[in-house]
Amino acid sequence: MKHQDDKVMLSHGSGGRMMHQLIEDLFVKHFRNKILDEQTDSAILSVGSHEIAFTTDSFVIDPLFFPGGNIGKLAVCGTVNDLAVSGAEPLYLSVSFILEEGFPMKELEIIVESLAAEAKKAGVLIVTGDTKVVNKGKCDKLFINTAGIGRLKKETRLISKALNIKSGDVIIINGTIGDHGMAVMNARESFNFKASVESDCACLNHMIRKVLEEVPVKFMRDPTRGGVATLLNELVEKIGLGIEINESALPLNKGVKAMCEVLGFEPLHIANEGKVVIVADQTDGDRIIEILKNNKLGLQSAIIGRVVSDHPGKVVLKNETGGRRIIDSLSGDQLPRIC
């Protein structure tokens, strides 16, 4: 702790720099162990001769219902995707509810039905859970925690570690960026934008499995809070190389582009809930795009940039007019409670 009287601020939960500082300076400091130190999306655990991936996520999104989904669907997708991008096949989930006294049972049922339907689609079983109810006003309607376990295959077990990445490797995304963050913002704030922006919230495990079965992938992660920019910045720090992103190659929904222009947001900083960033050898790029485009969650897949040996540790965006600028991690509190 820096100062005795420091307080937790919303920015500490934004997925950006401040959250990472909190994790490093407090959580990792006290919990330190070999598995945690890997800081992968899911923990990789050995059980006998098997390896499993284990992860957890809490959902506090406001509003509970938004275009493209609700907190229940999101709670399954978030955890399933964390497992899938770790190279694991998601198998089992736990679901815990913290409910506020007075929350309408009817809405709870809709959310639970969504959880069940999404789990079925993803092919995972919800096998345990917990229920707590707190007094009215002591939590905001409903919070959900899910944890998940997946089976790791030998050939993909090291995918989160970003090993073997070299200059020239391609950066791929499976579609438009920023849809989730902007959909939630449009649903929550009183902008009344006419743009129809829907969350991309979806389980990616089947699509990712298809890619992994056919092509070697060097790294994968889902660009949730903090967006693609934060993910790539964490990656360049890890690999000691640079990344160059081509602005004109970024798939962008019209409505998201318009909202970002009006509000002054950088789309690369906006959260996604149905996207995966893949790093692969450049000779595998086109094949991966082909596989992704065969899935309805990957129709707008694109190679958005490359790993470069210039500017190590930095992500640089090249724009259409030839200008270049550094894209940093998201700092501060762009929009709290989006997942």
């Binding site: 307080k7 937790v8 601020m9 919303l10 920015s11 950006g16 720099r17 401040m18 500082q21 704030e189 009183s190 902008f191 019209k254 582009k257 318009a258 222009e261 509000l263 002054g264 640089v316 724009n319 259409e320 007019t321 030839g322 200008g323 270049r324 600028r325 550094i326 940093d328 700092s331 501060g332 509190d333």
Partner: protein, 359 residues
């Protein structure tokens, strides 16, 4: 996207760039007054498209940045009054005051809410009749008419618990003050949206008395490049004047309805600018007959004398005398996630822009 794509066409930008290179002979300094312009220049990498004879400097056109430390400290003091809800544009909550920030006060229990329009704070007032809602009014002639309209609406709808702490400012006095202070400027890239409200008459003195070029510019790369070309032609030909590049939005007479609303609600007062000191008749004070909506009239707070952060050169940056890279704190002790000065907080602040688009 309409009104965006056509103003970002690479060929068009490059052709203006070529023209500029052939026209520009003298070494000139142009000031972009508006933070939105500073952002556009860096975002689109325009400086690299200019001939070496043209130097751009950033001016005092970021509302968050020029708001005085005293104003920030006042807002903090109000946030600690029981039953008060502070409604503010988002950038302001992270500006460090003398000892704390609104973001930290929110974590300490103050009710601080981010709004995207002043009218949202009216709604907050209506739905919280037992609380007092204080809107932090910052910005120039662009946002001030909205605050004025909200006050008039509060009066009309008889909303007794809506107040404004006004730090609204007007542009012409500060532009003139910079010239009089001796900052070397050959021409102004004038703020597009301010002028959409005020009209162009406010710049006449700068052209006729000070002999400076003024071109009102839009915010897309083609707009900016064209405005720079127009200014360069004016200066090279020795015929400085006031011109509008941003004709799709700005008319010479401005928005007269907005001007009237401003006059109905506000009067000019001497006002304090961060780094620039007090500039006569540069601030907007709520008229006495509407003082029931003026937070300064309705609530008394003790604010100790404000201290500017040590080592921060925001003041010199706002005057175009230095750039952020001249500051020893820049990108070291002062970053967007842990800002020391206001210019690093706002998305339109010169330091935040330099940080974001550094290469």
């Amino acid at each position: 996207m309409k009104y965006i794509d056509e103003y970002r066409k690479k060929e068009l930008i490059l052709s203006v760039s070529e023209k500029l290179k052939s026209v520009s002979k003298k070494e000139i300094v142009l000031m972009e007054v508006c933070g939105g312009h500073t952002m556009a220049i860096h975002r689109f990498g325009l400086a690299s498209l200019l001939p070496p004879t043209i130097r751009l400097i950033s001016g005092p056109g970021c509302p968050v940045c020029v708001s005085s430390q005293h104003f920030i400290d006042m807002a903090m003091a109000y946030s600690k009054i029981s039953g008060v809800i502070i409604a503010t544009y988002g950038d302001l909550i992270r500006v460090p005051g003398s000892s704390t920030s609104l973001e930290k006060e929110r974590a300490n229990g103050s009710d601080v809410r981010i709004v995207y329009s002043v009218l949202e704070s009216l709604e907050i007032a209506k739905s919280n009749p037992k609380k007092n809602v204080i809107f932090l009014g910052i910005g120039f002639e662009t946002t001030a008419p909205l605050t004025a309209a909200a006050i008039l609406q509060a009066k009309q709808e008889n909303i007794p618990n809506f107040f404004v702490l006004s730090a609204h400012k007007v542009m012409p006095p500060v532009m003139k003050a910079l010239v009089e202070e001796g900052v070397k400027i050959d021409g102004f890239i004038a703020p597009g949206h301010v002028t959409a409200i005020t009209g162009t008459a406010i710049y006449n003195d700068l052209a006729t008395i000070c002999g400076l070029g003024v071109v009102v510019a839009g915010f897309e790369p083609v707009d900016m490049m064209q405005a720079i070309l127009m200014l360069t032609i004016q200066i090279e030909s020795g015929t400085p004047g006031v011109e509008i590049q941003y004709q799709r939005v700005v008319h010479s007479e401005g928005n007269q309805v907005a001007q009237q609303v401003l006059k109905d609600v506000f009067e000019l007062r001497d006002d304090s600018w961060r780094g620039l000191g007090t500039i006569p008749k540069s601030g907007l004070k709520i008229r006495e007959e509407l003082s029931s909506f003026d937070a300064e009239w309705q609530f008394t707070v003790e604010v100790p004398s404000s201290t500017e952060p040590k080592g921060c050169i925001c003041g010199q940056i706002l005057r175009g005398l230095k750039t952020p890279v001249d500051c020893p704190l820049f990108a070291r002790k002062c970053t967007p996630s842990d800002p020391v000065g206001a210019c690093m907080v706002s998305g339109e602040g010169t330091c935040a822009t330099y940080y974001k688009y550094r290469s």
